[in-house]
Amino acid sequence: MDKETLFREISHALVEFEVEKVAELAEQTLLQNIPAFETITEGLVTGMKEVSRLFEEEEYFLPEVLMCSDAFNAGLEVVNPHLDKASLEKPIKMVIGVVEGDTHDIGKNLVGILSGASGFEVYDLGRDVPLDRFIEKAEEVESDMICMSTLMTTTMDGMKTVIDRLIERNIRDKYKVLIGGGPISQTFCDKIGADLYANDASSAVRKAKELMGRV
């Protein structure tokens, strides 16, 4: 199989969530001395882009997306040890968590998984995260983005507090702030001065990349 066909096959198997097939095909790329970097960007990431599209068009739902990201990770595990780190562009770093007072984290987990599968470096703070923790962690790892989620209307104001504290500390411009979750809307995003709102995990990743100038 030539390189292009192999990449197409990988993307295809990933979209069909054939975990083992993706891993096998990834092994083949190594046998053919194809650089791991190319396999990731041309095969795996291309596949995940298609998955995102299917999700946004409602063809795919959470279970399919999670199975696809399993397939992505299976392929990544095979080629990752052979990756020439210098060939990679610096990954986008994101600190992500569910804001203080809320423990519903499935939406946040999905954004984390998809971001990871799209090459982000994800620092997941979990759920019920004290508001200052977002800022501390972002400062510590020199993050590019701060992502906050909540399912409950009662805790959404925590997002504003984080942004206000960033402003107080004069570091608002260092970070792009992405918010999402059941009760969150573009209006709320505008109101509290966040940079980005997305209404599902897949568009969150796509919009985040666009915002960071990576398409």
């Binding site: 409602e58 063809e59 795919y60 739902f61 959470l62 279970p63 399919e64 999670l66 203080e100 007072g101 809320d102 423990t103 519903h104 984290d105 499935i106 987990n109 759920r127 019920d128 399912l151 409950m152 209307t153 009662t154 805790t155 104001d157 059941g182 009760p183 809307s185 573009q186 209006t187 709320f188």
Partner: protein
């Protein structure tokens, strides 16, 4: 400053620039539901409005489709405006009955003939309380009302006195025997049900139900709590709204205010938040991890301290709750249906915005609540509506792919309520309009093709189910099924072992059992029987009112029942994702 004129009601009020239309409606003393508490998410608060208004923003434009139609929660006043409210909201079709076990009459309230006043200088009421006759006045000395009633006896030179006792406490005095009545209430987030009972016989005298007036402040528990977070007067306003309505219901039930004074006990069941709000207690902490309520135990108060316009010394009891999200409504329902006494493995479900689940395995009771979202109540669904007149409430597709449906009140279909949504989805799964994954089938039977356009299944010219609606339903039923699975795992039995599913709630009454199984609202493997018990919460309140033993049972249950928090359970997500499909 401008004027807002309500065209239908012919009311004009002064309004301030920047006021939202919903503010104007409230200020005029009119009612319009704002289910999402003005977040601009649900689009359900459409009104006609014209005049000096802000232009619709992008968010609002998504919801408005005709000239002069605006969202009351977003459009703001700039000067003079005219507002036309939608036709009066329909009566909610809430099931005002439920299944309950039979109990003997053993009420705390009794009427007795008291010893007649003697010709001494000893005050009559005090002599009753002092004489070791076994009577008390609760607080030690009588209440102002009781002294005034004793005064009236003197005025009438009464030779014969009847007293109403709560336990052995004198709570009313009169020269004639009269009715002794009690009121059982279930305060649901959406609907309220109330029964008037004759406490001398235990019989139901009258029933009534209505929409919870707090829906004006938000359709679900969380948006009402949010209202309290944003408005310092919130708990007070919500309390006034509910108390005003409860007093109206009492008058409805007793027909006149004098008869209402012969109500001697009120027992209230409801979810934990509703119970907080009926006392005007700040509910904010219930909606923040670790989800801590202000109180859970049974609360016993005098009517005069609660705002109930009944006999001032009457007892008002709020039944106990198990946790912030497993409320008195569930405990009352469990006891009313004797679910706690089942000798086969069984589950109890109450389906609403939060789905509460109780599992009984050989007397071990374990409960949880799961954030199902409002889809099963017809909200967040493109053509969804509450179970009110015109709502499609049952649906099927026959072998010839002809559609059959019924609407509440047999009127022109105006929307789809929860039970309709479940039936429609089940029919779509059965006839392969949607696949096991929930995706619309691109390869349809030719006989149904014309009804499916652009990933929307048209039931009528106007009403449809979209792919997004199916996804919403999947999330709701997935949350419930995953909650049940996790509880079963906790007690260590598989779904196959469950012999009975008891479905409670006003909503539960109309659902078709086959549809429940078809969409997988219960975990795969469940083969037991499904029974519907209707509003078992108000039934529990009724039983507690006529039998003191039941009241004690509910109290005991509060201590006995274990509560599991799902959102922090590491396995919940896995089960949830697995429960999303229609396999």
């Amino acid at each position: 400053m401008g004027m807002a004129h309500f065209t239908k009601e012919n009311i004009t009020i002064e309004v301030n620039e920047g006021d939202r239309l919903s503010d104007c409606i409230q200020a005029a003393g009119l009612v319009l539901e704002t289910p999402c508490n003005g977040l601009g998410l649900c689009g359900k608060c459409r009104v006609k409005a014209w005049g000096d208004l802000t232009l619709p923003d992008e968010l609002e434009s998504r919801f408005i489709n005709a000239p002069d139609v605006r969202l009351a929660c977003l459009a703001r006043v700039k000067g003079d405006v005219c507002i036309e409210l939608p036709p009066k909201c329909n009566q909610l079709k809430t099931i005002n009955q439920g299944f309950a076990i039979e109990v003997d009459l053993d009420s705390s309230v009794k009427q007795v003939r008291l010893p007649a006043p003697t010709k001494t200088a000893q005050p009559y009421l005090e002599s009753l309380l002092d004489s070791g006759s076994g009577f008390s006045s609760g607080s030690g000395s009588g209440s102002v009302d009781l002294y005034q009633k004793a005064g009236k006896l003197e005025q009438a030179r009464a030779q014969q006195v009847y007293g109403v006792l709560f336990d052995n406490e004198i709570i009313d005095l009169g020269t004639e025997p009269g009715e002794i009545q009690g009121v059982a209430i279930d305060i649901g987030t959406t609907g309220i049900s109330a029964y008037l009972l004759d406490l001398a016989s235990g019989k139901i005298l009258q029933k009534t139900s209505c929409l919870n007036p707090q829906t004006e402040f938000g359709g679900d528990v969380l948006s009402r709590i949010s209202y309290c977070l944003e408005n310092p007067q919130g708990p007070k306003q919500l309390q006034e709204a509910i108390l005003g309505k409860l007093n109206e219901l009492v008058i409805d039930l007793t027909v006149d205010a004098n008869r209402a004074k012969r109500v001697y006990q009120v027992v209230i069941a409801g979810n934990t938040t509703m119970l907080h709000l009926v006392l005007g207690v700040y509910p904010g902490s219930i909606a923040r991890a670790p989800y801590r309520p202000v109180f859970l135990k049974q609360v016993d108060l005098k009517a005069r301290d609660t705002g109930f316009l009944i006999c001032p010394d009457a007892r008002v009891t709020l039944l106990p709750s198990a946790s912030g999200y497993v409320g008195a409504d569930i405990l009352a329902g469990v006891v009313a249906t004797a679910f706690d006494k089942k000798d086969v493995p069984a589950i109890f479900l109450d389906i609403g915005t939060n789905g509460e689940i109780v599992v009984n395995l050989g007397g071990r009771l374990i409960a949880t609540s799961t954030a199902a979202g409002p889809a099963l109540e017809g909200m967040n669904i493109s053509c969804g509506c509450r179970a009110e007149e015109g709502a499609i409430d049952s649906f099927s597709i026959d072998d010839q792919f002809e559609l059959h449906f019924t609407t509440i009140g047999s009127t022109y279909p105006k929307g789809i309520c929860g039970s309709g949504l479940i039936d429609i989805t089940a029919a779509m799964v059965k006839h392969r309009l949607v696949l096991a994954s929930g995706r619309f089938n691109p390869d349809l039977d030719p006989r149904i093709q014309a009804r499916v356009r652009d990933k929307k299944f048209y039931l009528t010219e106007e009403l449809y189910i979209s792919q997004t609606d199916i996804r919403q339903l999947q999330l709701a039923k997935g949350a419930i099924a995953a909650g049940v699975t996790l509880l079963l795992e906790e007690v260590g039995i598989p779904p196959e072992a469950i012999e009975e599913a008891v479905i409670a709630g006003a909503f539960g009454y109309h659902i078709n059992p086959e549809s429940i199984l078809e969409i997988g609202l219960l975990p795969k493997g469940f083969r037991g029987t499904i029974s519907f018990v209707g509003n078992s919460s108000v039934e529990g309140a009724r039983l507690a009112l006529i039998n003191q033993g039941v009241m004690t049972q509910i109290k005991d249950l509060k201590h006995r029942i274990e509560v599991l928090e799902l959102s922090t359970n590491p396995r919940f997500q896995d089960y949830f994702v697995k429960a999303l499909g229609f396999k």
